[in-house]
Symmetry: C2
Subunit: 151 residues, 2 copies
């Protein structure tokens, strides 16, 4: 990421030789519009207090929005297309390196971002939501209705 305080690797970070990402393929189904154009501007996690962002769903997927309604929560999955994929221990923002799977950092073997957001409105194939943290232009890969917390 361009704003990592240490260029390339911070002290204590560990990389691996990652296998090629050829086990399955994704199709980008839309694009996310947010106010943030650089990583250092974006919040580290989304907040319901944050700005309304817009999720544009591409053709031919519009009919798949049928049944979503304002007021509900949805899980948004997106592709963190700028993130490196070979770090297993990360030290950005911390003294003691921590495992990638114990962090919600964008840097991970499969750089998929996940936010549970509040759906505020739908206009055609564009959703207005609160709770995102990603950069403007981030590719969308899935939308799922939220489920209540499990017992």
């Amino acid at each position: 990421m361009s704003d990592r305080p240490c260029q390339d690797l911070c002290p204590g970070e560990v990389t691996v030789v990652a296998p090629p990402p050829t086990d399955a393929g994704l199709v980008f189904i839309g694009r996310i519009h947010t106010p943030w154009h650089e990583r250092r501007e974006a919040p580290r996690q989304g907040s319901r207090e944050g700005p309304v962002c817009h999720i544009e769903v591409f053709d031919p997927w519009g009919p798949a929005l049928e049944g979503l309604a304002p007021g509900q929560e949805i899980d948004v999955l997106y592709w963190l297309h700028l993130a490196r994929r070979d770090l297993v221990l990360q030290a950005r923002h911390r003294d003691v390196p921590r495992g990638t799977f114990a962090l919600r950092s964008p840097v991970r073997p499969n750089p998929i971002g996940l936010s549970r957001v509040l759906l505020e409105g739908i206009a055609g194939q564009v959703l207005a939501v609160r709770g995102l943290d990603c950069l403007d232009g981030t590719p969308l890969i899935d939308l799922k209705p939220g489920v209540p917390p499990r017992p």
Copy 2:
């Protein structure tokens, strides 16, 4: 899916010509072990009352588990490798067809499953968790620490 009550399509379901899934590539980072070998045996959503399942993390990703601890919640992302990807309206289990993005069905443009589970134990590169719903052998694509519900 082999257990869809209607072969191929149910009445009211709508497919599209899906673009090729070549926008990004995934690497399978592990495998999930559950008691369920066919879709009709598996729960429709995971439950904390359900059985302990095991998540095996492949090399070279083991060090990325550093910092996870029993008792915490984690989001598990997995690849629903048996699911078709071209349905926008679905009618399985319901009278009125509903949009794919308003369902947590495995049938979706990018068949990524998501469950928030309770981490019960870690032994080497194997996690014991409760709350999964997927078939035995499902490929793992990501693990993230859970976050508390947003305000």
